[in-house]
């Protein structure tokens, strides 16, 4: 009863333009990238889109490029590529931490950066990473390309700013400089599960260890991926003493509004936002001080 989805049409797009065109014309369409969330949702009957637009054969959407101002990640870049990339491991520990903790190796082999971000479940890990790193999302639609800030991108659970005929093509991450460090901590019931709570922290500190900038993204801390903005603004300009981290993690906790579910009661999740924010900031700081 549950392994078989409702009927749907399936079309392969060979270019971004064609994908956008298909999304625009087909009824009730949905992008198929890695399919690691979409397909289970369809077979379980949670989602029944009438048309799927397969973007896997669009060339040149699978890349990691840090030659310019930012690290550019193609929307079709598989999670496993992030896990295996020396560049990511060395320069973007936050992304690397998170990628290694997404689901299991089989899912990571197919799941894509863009898909994880666009699925926009509260329990997906990369949205928090994008929020913490102040990423920019590049989308193509019928009226051309637009660039959206991560902080505006996540509208609600399973809902982003993208229109139904828009395709995310690239995520741009500000380049890590000396003094930058990040970490992703994920509390899970079991390896491969969605986070009970996850915290993404990205820091830049000066030579004296004073925080220049910081980003904190939270997974499973609300009905959608959220940014701990108050904690962020409070940290800027401060030395990261234990007391400062305490205050910041309390502010992050206050930002959160998690749901009670099988992964734990809301009050526990709130407390875990605090504990993990403290630990993530500490680890990020250590990495930032370790230099890049």
């Amino acid at each position: 009863m549950f392994v078989i989805p409702d009927r749907f049409s399936y079309t392969v797009a060979h270019s971004v333009e064609e994908a956008v065109e298909l999304l625009h014309t087909l009824e009730d369409s949905k992008v198929l990238a890695g399919g690691q969330s979409l397909i289970p949702f369809m077979k379980l009957g949670y989602a029944s889109p009438k048309s799927l637009v397969d973007i896997n054969r669009i060339p040149n959407l699978d890349y990691l490029d840090d030659s310019g101002e930012s690290l550019k990640i193609g929307a079709l870049t598989r999670i496993s590529r992030l896990c295996d990339s020396e560049l990511v491991a060395k320069d973007y520990p936050l992304i690397h931490d998170a990628a290694l903790q997404i689901a299991d190796p089989l899912v990571r082999n197919l799941g894509t950066f863009g898909g994880n971000v666009c699925h926009a479940d509260m329990g997906d890990d990369l949205p928090a990473v994008c929020l913490a790193m102040n990423a920019e999302m590049v989308a193509s639609g019928p009226s051309g390309q637009r660039v959206l800030a991560a902080k505006d991108f996540f509208v609600d659970r399973f809902t982003t700013l993208l229109a139904s005929d828009e395709l995310l093509t690239e995520v741009r991450i500000p380049k890590n400089r000396r003094g930058c460090g990040g970490a992703y901590l994920k509390l899970e019931r079991r390896v491969g599960d969605y986070a009970i709570v996850g915290v993404a922290a990205q820091l830049e500190v000066d030579g004296d260890g004073v925080c220049r900038s910081v980003g904190i993204g939270l997974t499973s801390a609300s009905t959608k991926p959220i940014k701990a903005s108050e904690a962020e603004s409070w940290l800027v300009g401060k030395s990261l003493s234990d007391e400062v981290l305490d205050k910041a993690s309390t502010l992050a906790m206050n930002t959160s509004n998690p749901l009670s579910d099988i992964r734990g009661p809301a009050e526990y999740k709130k407390a875990m936002v605090k504990v993990l924010t403290h630990r993530a900031l500490k680890l990020a700081y250590k990495r930032a001080r370790g230099g890049l």
């Binding site: 949905k30 949702f41 379980l44 009957g45 949670y46 989602a47 029944s48 889109p49 926009a120 609600d156 659970r157 399973f158 809902t159 009905t223 749901l259 009670s260 579910d261 099988i262």
Partner: protein, 145 residues
Amino acid sequence: MKFEGSYQFPKSSSEVYSYISDLRRVSECIPDLKSLEIKSEDEALATVRAGIGFIRGDFNLRFNVTQRSPHTNLGYAVHGSGLGSGVDISITVQLEDLSTGGSTLSWVADTKVVGRVASMAQGMISSQAEKIIKQFFECLSQRLR
């Protein structure tokens, strides 16, 4: 799950009653309505496309007026299914004239969602159900102003 709310109107309770006891007019406020068939003055069949994000499906719902006490009380029952789940909402509405003129409408909705969707995400269902019911009353109140 129980949700509740109340509104005040410049109109009298009998005016409000005559509006909200008319299934045809009330049906216009059902959110995400795809189709509607009025079977009798006490029964309507509706198809609603409800959900969150792309987790969305058609719900076939039967609306019944279960209680009519002119000027004071009204009861609705909603029963149906969608996304492999069963939905049962019983709504009681209480009307009261205010001494200052106008009236108050208070509603209580007892909602049960059972089945696949409910099992998937407890918290999500209750917040979504609350949202939909509130939308319904918000819409009614707009029309009654």
